[in-house]
Subunit: 477 residues, 4 copies
């Protein structure tokens, strides 16, 4: 992955029959979800109705010390959240989970996704006297649920009823003093799955199945699009889909398979690793090349690289070494040495590429800057030819559902015809996966896909007031 | 001051004609107000309508680094707040100033005081769908003002109208994108004054005049009880008291003079230093004693000690040295060495007290534990006699207006008759200032006093649901 | 104290018969000695021969967390040190105590003072192959002692023998695996005293008696000038002065009484508080003035102020309030607002000074800048006249013995005749204590005094290579 | 790499003709060397003879903030060091580079390796009065060089002469005010290479060539075993090997190729990546197996995995996902959940291994615990068979040259015959690389190899006092 697509958010919720060290289990799960958001993270623990939280800017291993985990202590329910990183509006005010107090009792909430009618809803609630502390959609969702709570004592019914009002992408975990509730929007834009703790200890909900693995929980199933699930003393039950039947096909973001999710996660029945291998195979079919070795750009290009290698018969190589220690806090040199900044993160293995015709596989190209430097590094390391293959179609349209793609005027694919991009990045050839193929990488998935950022076709109405060609929509989770 | 009365909060607001380094000026002013609250502090800067804030647990000098002040940057308006420290519910969620967003624009608010009808108001707003992020009264006040903003575009009018609804003690500073507003409750329980920056640069509002001195601002006047003042492009003007006349006598907390305020502040026309000197003089009249030296317990007992010395003719001595470096983070020894903990903070000057009959002046006795240790230390240092004089009456009743007095069952004056307290703390004699006299220490003040914690007589109705003899009311500012 | 004289260092050592929480006791004692040095602090604990230490830049309450104290853990012996603050060469390398390893076993050492022959000794040891890790005199002393240890198994004898080589001011505490040793130079320039822990638990050595008080230890006596004391299984014994007789009169730094030491300490039999009161009385005799009130500049001018008041009959007043919260980390404003920087630390009490003829007492004037601002503040607060009285003579000469006086070309008393200084600082009159009187403030002390910085007469030879009129000698402790 | 072999240290030195931002360049290079040591790191900058340093416990990205790098500032020469992590004796005292002062001028030094005669040398220097501040071999080397400096003004000659005295493994970078010197022990146990900065700006020395790549420096050559190189105004020159001829074959630690070095480094002419591929190929020849997929344990097993795949024709798979965010500070759960601790770091890709006969390739087995958990995880993920192949021979002997292998009584290969290890870790089969083959993985290298930890045959005498079967020797770099 060569740059500027911001990852979204990751959510996690846990319910245990007895009081357990739910803070620690959530902490462990957030490690597994860290790739979904590196700006801030938070945990809120519910111990017999008393909510305690820690929310800070930073990575899980920076924010949570032993002391803080001990303070959060044991409880029966907990929520966790990791939030993506943007250069701009980094603020602790938008950190999640969010805890709100209400006459019907406290509630905490965390979500992944982006509402398309957030602006209208904010205005509606403000006009009846509501006040907002953040710019986060979580607060809008909280208002929508709170509104419904005035008419029902059941938080899950309130959540269900609120779905009529909130439009867009949202995978939500929330809790009241006694219940854990999980909710997924009717399109199922973002993943959300259920798991069971060993020994009948309780249940969890998580953005990805790898979070379940990290705490030894057993995967049960994905939430259905449009489903609300409640977990309490009576176990786990579906509020909306009591018959387990689907109401619509769903439109899962296909880029979850291409880039966002971890390869060891399984989403809607399809292993992410397999989907990426398949993307690599399709690429080899669509854009074959006569070459000596295939290199996947670590980490996200590796699986597609292996797929390309298998399909083409060209040997796979570890041609780029990623420095595991360059974290968020890498200090840029005073002088503008952008190339050096890439070089410190990725170094070609000269012995692997020297004198070779090299295919490099990456998941996407955003501005093209990083790809250009990379192609150059590999060429300097002695490669005879450098062919670039991208395991997704070109980004041509904005995403309204929780992905922070760069603005259109900086997206290279919006700037020039494809043939010119190859020249611009210095590649001998360039090939993108077709839209047809990207929709088949998760073949056999239980849901349909959303490919709006590639095709411009969105499964639901998108805001009028935001012109589609202006990509500056503020994304939140 | 021997212990457990928690200080309240301090507020500060600044408006400058041009963009200035308002973050730095607020930072300076918060240093001067730090004695009013050591739990958390915050600054919010308004730069052409964009609000940036920093709010954290800790002292001003711990929270604000150069980097953070630079990030807050320049602006035209800013608010600052210091919050008191309690052992219990220390939470960043209640840190101020609070910024809220609304259809009529953003607003930030900080207050000092305590509402008596917060619970009813919370419920009222919750029942129309409002949600609360904190347990702070600031959020209740925000709702009340927001409610009024729906009917007017003027934030100062909204504030004024909201006063009909919010009952209790509140000295408030707030800002909209273009205005700084200051508001004081109709009783004037807590102080709030106005100042002018040098060179006609702008105006400030602050809890105490010492904050004005710290930035070289000139004192203009105290806000009247029940007054709302607005500062904007048109300068400073009173929304409610356009004729400058008072609507009621007011009931300023007399303990502000006794203990809370800094001696170099002037409140309602009376220098705090002078009030404390007078308290010492009254004490000497009420409870004369044949002694060799007078010692004021640093820092708050020093002025009353000087007053006692002047009135009685007994020489004043520096008999106790306060360690200036023992901060909030002093680590208690593993074994219970409470005496050692007092000893590290206050050490008697043996040469000053040895063989002497000593009068020690303190502002109050809460549980009596610290006073007892102190008396013992002075006796061990060789004092022949130790006479304790307290520059306020005994605490016998709860405060509903922003002071966190200990619970009744731990207040020594509620536990035993006065004659027994002397024996309990090991003093040769003990004398408290009378209620009559405490009401005269600020003679000439522009307002009346509230002495509810001493007399049990409150100037306004206090909550029914909280029994007066149960002092556990959660205090907020 | 108005500014630029750097305080020196403070040392502490403890020996307990059984393993105790010596880290915590040392931590407590360092709080009491913090006024002697605010740059860095350190503790080294000796648990059955294993030395563990923590040394960092910062105040005691910044450096020592609960976790760090627990890591240091229990032991039988410990040393502690606080180091003064300079603007320049702040380095962790010079932090003390210093631990060195040698064939005769490990040794830790901490000292207060300054050697006059450090340079020669460094060269001597370097020429036989020695290497230095720091620029601290502690390392030179370590070499001198290590040299002697080659000839004896007794660390106390080695220390004693090393005294022949090391010249200058040094109050040292050190430990071997089984012994605590304290040593004071033959002139006794810097204080060092012995105490006994309650219940026969063990012994301590400390720069000042206030450190003993802070842990409830009983004062035994000051070390004699030139004395080496050893504390081990056999209790406490003097290596050098077995008969308890003095070998010379000694030359204690008189400025310890004027400024460095805490008023509740007793040095060489004279309470510091009493010495300062006496300085104030002498001042009133030497430079009487017709005035209404006397103000001591807090904290160090208060005692002399009281003395001046007693002698002159002019009432003492709290005319300046010191902000207790302005710590080391106060951020200077971007624009040069030096006056504002003084104002935030010291604020006049207008009600006390308005319309009054004021005498302000301070312990010294260095550059004159701060005094000038202070005089101006008091005048602006309404004082009719401002008379400055200084409780020590003018600084005219460098100190070679551990005090960091400013360089001569910035010392106001080296720049202009005394009569001009008054005009320069804006005072109506100015009076310094005479050299004769400063030598009598500690009347009855067991030692003689060093007044070299005032008189230019030094009790021992001072370095040739450093011209007396060039005050840039780097001072260490 | 499944566990407990501690990595060693990494060194870096830079010399620039003009003053440059050498602190930043060193910082960048340390990132590239971070895999060689994660306990502490340090940089010392030499600006016209003034040495400034920062040395702290932690990773490069934790220790070096922008502020600290700015303080280090520009200069002409700098040294950097990363130190390995041990559970036990983690101390800042042993952090490097070490700066020492001497009559011939200051010197800073950093090294990688372990002396075999450190104890004798320490004693020798202590007996002439030397004192030691650390337990680091760097201090012993400093004494040896300082001893020689007494006889010569040339630091490079002193270094050369000192080589006669210091025995063992040492790759050293050091600097005097005007020179950068690099030195490698006569056996060349540890790598050390030279590079040239672009534009003739200067030269660098580094443990591995990947550090050169990270700053765009061009590889010149490895230092010869026993060589001393000096870099100054006159450029770069060899002190000892002016003819460039080798004096001995050398004995480079073969485990550098197997595990320590980064795959993109080239050591003694052999790319590490290639050596690992070859190890995988040899393994496939020695221990063929009928299987469906090959998995390399990330990160160090990946290259050997690819080699095994190529040789055997069995497809390579990404069967294990390593969590990139689990850093040093991962908090262990209160209950003993060791398996969960592995699981959070490595998660099997179920879709890749389910129903498959799996070969997993790792570089070594230490205690066997981690391997056992890993085998179990893969089996639980559905693998039909799990075959373990190790790309090095079993550890049977201690290392005296800078590698911290576990103690013998915990090394599984010292505990049981090889056939039992397979059963113990739950593998269907197990194969180690033979000693013969491990010596051929770096075929074509310019030096011979040391395989002492496998064979027990050491190229130089090892200490008598340390029995070879007791592996508790304290390792330092």
């Amino acid at each position: 992955m060569t740059g500027n697509i911001k990852e979204e958010c990751g959510v996690f919720g846990i319910y245990t029959r007895e009081r357990e060290d739910v803070a620690f289990l959530t902490y462990q799960a957030l490690y597994a979800l860290q790739h979904r958001g590196q700006e801030s993270c938070g945990i809120v623990v519910n111990d017999r109705g008393v909510f305690s939280d820690v929310k800070e800017l930073g990575l899980v291993n920076e924010v949570f010390t032993k002391e803080k985990l001990q303070k959060l202590g044991t409880g029966q329910i907990a929520l966790g959240h990791v939030r993506y990183s943007t250069t701009g509006n980094v603020s602790i005010h938008n950190a999640q989970p969010m805890t709100v107090r209400h006459v019907k009792g406290p509630m905490a909430i965390a979500h992944n996704g982006n509402l398309v009618n957030a602006r209208e809803l904010r205005e509606e609630y403000e006009l009846i006297g509501g006040i907002f502390h953040s710019t986060s959609d979580s607060e809008v969702i909280s208002y929508a649920i709170t509104e419904q709570r005035l008419y029902t004592d059941s938080i899950q019914d309130a959540a269900h009823n609120a779905m009529r009002k909130i439009k867009g992408a949202y995978s939500v975990v929330m809790m009241s003093p006694k219940k854990l509730v999980a909710m997924r929007d009717p399109n199922g834009f973002r993943p959300l799955c259920l798991g069971e703790l060993g020994g009948g200890k309780g249940y969890v909900a998580a953005s990805e199945s790898c979070a379940l693995d990290s705490i030894g929980a057993k995967f049960i199933r994905d939430l259905l699009p449009g489903e609300v699930v409640v977990i309490d003393d009576n176990g786990i039950s579906s509020v909306t889909h009591k018959d387990g039947k689907r109401t619509c096909g769903g439109n899962l973001c296909v880029f979850e398979y291409v880039y966002f999710a971890r390869p060891d996660s399984v989403i809607e029945g399809v292993p992410v690793h397999e989907a990426r291998m398949r993307a690599g195979r399709f690429l080899a079919q669509e854009h074959p090349v006569d070459a000596d070795i295939v290199i996947g750009v670590p980490d996200s290009g590796v699986d597609a690289g292996l797929g390309f290698s298998r399909e083409s018969g060209i040997p796979y190589e570890t041609g780029l070494i990623k420095n595991r220690y360059v974290g968020r806090t890498f200090i840029q040199p005073s002088q503008a040495m952008r190339e050096s900044s890439v070089r410190i993160k990725l170094n070609p293995v000269m012995s692997a590429v020297k004198g070779k015709r090299v295919v490099i596989i990456d998941d996407s190209i955003v501005r093209g800057t990083t790809t250009k430097i990379l192609v150059n590094l590999i060429r300097e390391a002695g490669a005879k030819e450098v062919h670039v293959r991208i395991s997704s179609p070109p980004f041509m349209h904005p995403c309204f559902f929780g992905t922070d793609i760069d603005s259109r005027d900086r997206l290279i694919a919006c700037q020039m015809p494809l043939e010119k991009i190859a020249a611009s990045i210095g590649a001998d050839s360039l090939g993108y996966l077709s839209i047809e193929h990207v929709n088949q990488i998760a073949k056999g998935a239980n849901v349909g896909m959303c490919d709006g950022c590639f095709s411009g076709k969105y499964p639901i109405d998108v805001p009028d007031e935001m012109p589609k060609d202006k990509f500056e929509y503020k994304l939140q989770c």
